[in-house]
């Protein structure tokens, strides 16, 4: 069965420092993987997606993620955090047959001045 584990429930960084949000997955086949962001009282916005093309995926707002099959990881990074990046981030993968999207528990990112 497919599953997603986000390793940190909370991450706190200073503005201008790098961001690392960690996601591990479990899947019996090479999956598609997604990162979404949710700002307070808003819906989910797609940051980036991996669909078995290039393993380094660039997304919106300067975020990128690298698919590492050997480590079953898909960590999200950004070189320099901005105050507007403060939000909750979700890693997700489709279940078999694409009949639903399985989400991790989320990582709340705080950015301090």
């Amino acid at each position: 069965a497919q599953s997603v584990t986000q390793l940190d429930s909370h991450v706190s960084v200073s503005e201008g420092t790098p961001v690392l949000l960690r996601c591990n997955y479990s899947s019996s086949y090479s999956p598609s993987l997604f990162w979404y962001v949710q700002h307070p009282n808003k819906g989910l916005q797609l940051l980036l997606k991996y669909t078995s093309a290039a393993t380094l995926v660039k997304g919106i707002n300067g975020f990128e993620a690298e698919f590492k099959k050997s480590e079953t990881s898909f960590h999200l990074t950004k070189p320099s955090a901005h105050m507007s990046d403060a939000a909750e981030y979700f890693c997700a993968l489709p279940s078999g047959g694409y009949n639903k999207l399985i989400f991790g528990a989320g990582t709340r990112l705080a950015v301090h001045p």
């Binding site: 808003k42 819906g43 989910l44 797609l46 979700f90 009949n99 639903k100 399985i102 989320g106």
Partner: protein
Amino acid sequence: EAGVTQSPTHLIKTRGQQATLRCSPISGHTSVYWYQQALGLGLQFLLWYDEGEERNRGNFPPRFSGRQFPNYSSELNVNALELEDSALYLCASSLIRDGYTFGSGTRLTVV
């Protein structure tokens, strides 16, 4: 291109009443997914509709139901509302393997 639209944005109901939430997918998307995001419970899959049919259902009681119309828009109905149904309900539409685009959600409050 218009995104996924959900209505209403906020809904306040009394325990025992029925709530109806609506979702319009991106043009050309035939699949609609419903999720519940309750405080402290993460994103829980509710229902998947494709081509007018219910294709998959999450672990929710039968009082959560819905339908998909010929224009692919969808409706989620929650009967006999309970306090714990208070949550943000998110709708997403998809073309298979192309990603899932979410709406801004409907905030349901049961009092």
